[in-house]
């Protein structure tokens, strides 16, 4: 439910400029999709917002407060498959944020089982992460980020390793959760159709530090294969 804001943020790695004077605003309960070619700086953008990395210039705020470090109200789903804790069974991985805030074990288990059911993994609650496929691990990471009532949800290509079917099911799930819980979401994707379907706003990152913001006012519900959506996608230049 918290909005966020970038004010003339400049980020460089060595002498490579990732963003120059990036300023933008995400309204509370908006859904921002970030697209751009590989290596253009999408993960870097998300890491700055999440407080995992610092910019050289400019300020980043969430709900009016400056971001200085990662916070549990802004959980991140990382791009890496290594984000689960290998020593915890799947359900305890999902319940980890609840354990941190002191929720007792039986309630943790109940809520983890609900979340597992939502992502279609109720059979795998007792398995360990190394027994799961890449896509299954990613779904566990999603459930973990969703479980503790986030204010701002940060997701780095969360559906990257999934087949079309699972992907569309999870997109539907994400849209309905987002509507119901009024989360603010920032979502990185390679897939423009996915961005068109999910977003309220689109951020296009380009080489040499330039960027463009675009509104997505496609009508709801969005059929991913409609002519209207195809037209919208065709207008986007990466």
């Amino acid at each position: 439910m918290s909005g966020f804001r970038f004010e003339s943020v400049t980020k460089t790695f060595g002498n490579e400029e990732i963003f120059r004077e990036l300023s933008l605003q995400g309204a509370p309960a908006s859904f921002l999709c970030v697209v751009g070619k590989s290596g253009v700086g999408k993960s870097t953008f998300l890491r700055l917002l999440g407080g995992f990395d610092q910019a050289e210039k400019g300020t980043i705020t969430i709900g009016g407060e400056q971001v200085t470090r990662p916070q549990k109200k802004c959980p991140m789903v990382f791009q890496s498959y290594e984000q689960l804790f290998p020593w915890l069974p799947v359900w305890e991985n999902i319940a980890f944020p609840l354990r941190v805030i002191g929720v007792d074990k039986s309630e943790r288990r109940n809520r983890a089982m609900e979340a597992l059911q939502a992502v279609g993994l109720e059979q795998d609650a007792k398995k360990y992460p190394h027994q799961l496929s890449g896509g299954m691990k990613q779904r566990v990471a999603l459930a973990r980020a969703w479980i503790a009532e986030p204010q701002l949800l940060l997701m780095d290509e969360p559906f990257g390793g999934l087949d079309m079917m699972t992907r569309e099911v999870l997109q539907d799930l994400l849209i309905s959760l987002w509507r119901e819980k009024q989360w603010t979401v920032v979502f990185i994707t390679h897939d423009l159709r996915e961005a068109a379907r999910l977003s309220t706003d689109l951020l296009i990152l380009r080489e040499n530090g330039s960027w463009e913001m675009k509104k997505n006012e496609l009508s709801q519900p969005r059929d991913p294969y409609s002519a209207e959506l195809n037209r919208w996608i065709r207008e986007i230049e990466l």
Partner: protein, 255 residues
């Protein structure tokens, strides 16, 4: 199972070679006893209780020393995680103390602490703590970055971070540190016992061995060595294996 069978066959072969050498009569039975006399000595000292008593005494000291070292090591690791000055101090201390054999410290320990159990514990902790810390720090320094960021994300710090994330994440290193520590403790203890002798009625396995030499009971000496080897196999092959099956192997973390 197959491996176990191969090992059994190898051990049997060694026994046969031993007995074969004995039969050639190359060495005096006084210094090269037959298998039969060794087994007999083993049985005799077991029944008399001498071996068991010494064994229990030694085991208790090793376990105390090992636990003490682990607790100390974890405390040091916790402080070192939050203070880089402390960490560099400990790194310096490790590089100074690690190469120093425990036995080399004995004269000093005797001067300072006398020859009681405290002195033995001191030697054990010295032998265990440094290699344990090297192993633990090595693993803590190589924790996967994304998992650390997840822990930052959920804002867990201090001892909860150590117990919930950092220690399980470095468990393979922790366990190999304990394993090294165990064998170092056992060695240090036996040397210390040989030198200190019986301080409180029991002198431990080391003292037992030493006495066997004094009384020229070679079969008894070998019986003591057999006990030490068997303990080694039981702890390494069964106890630590059991722990690994329940931890790093179950978690898919073995290296």
């Amino acid at each position: 199972m197959k491996q176990l069978r191969i090992k059994a066959i190898l051990i049997l072969a060694c026994c046969l070679i031993w007995q074969g050498v004995y039969w050639t009569g190359m060495y005096s039975p006084l210094i090269f006893p037959s298998l039969g006399t060794i087994v007999h000595a083993l049985g005799r000292d077991f029944v008399e209780g001498a071996l068991i008593e010494q064994f229990i005494y030694s085991m208790r000291l090793v376990i105390e020393g090992l636990l003490l070292s682990i607790v100390l090591g974890l405390g040091i690791a916790l402080i070192a995680r939050s203070s880089s000055v402390f960490r560099s101090g400990i790194d310096l201390l490790i590089s100074l103390a690690h190469p120093l054999p425990g036995v080399a410290l004995l004269p000093l320990v005797i001067l300072w602490a006398g020859i009681g159990e405290g002195a033995v514990l001191f030697i054990i902790v010295h032998s265990v703590l440094w290699p344990f810390l090297v192993s633990l720090f090595g693993a803590l320094d190589r924790l996967p970055q994304t998992q650390q960021e997840v822990a930052d994300n959920y804002e867990i710090f201090g001892w909860r971070r150590l117990i919930w994330v950092d220690l399980p994440g470095s468990f393979p290193g922790f366990l190999s540190g304990v394993k090294i520590g165990w064998s170092r403790a056992w060695r240090a203890l036996i040397s210390a016992e040989m030198i200190f002798g019986a301080t409180s009625g029991s002198g431990g396995i080391g003292w037992y061995l030493f006495q066997k030499r004094v009384f020229m009971d070679t079969a008894g000496l070998f019986a003591g060595l057999v006990v030490i080897m068997v303990i080694g196999i039981l702890i390494e092959g069964i106890f630590f294996r059991w722990i690994e099956k329940r931890t790093v192997i179950r978690w898919g973390m073995e290296r």
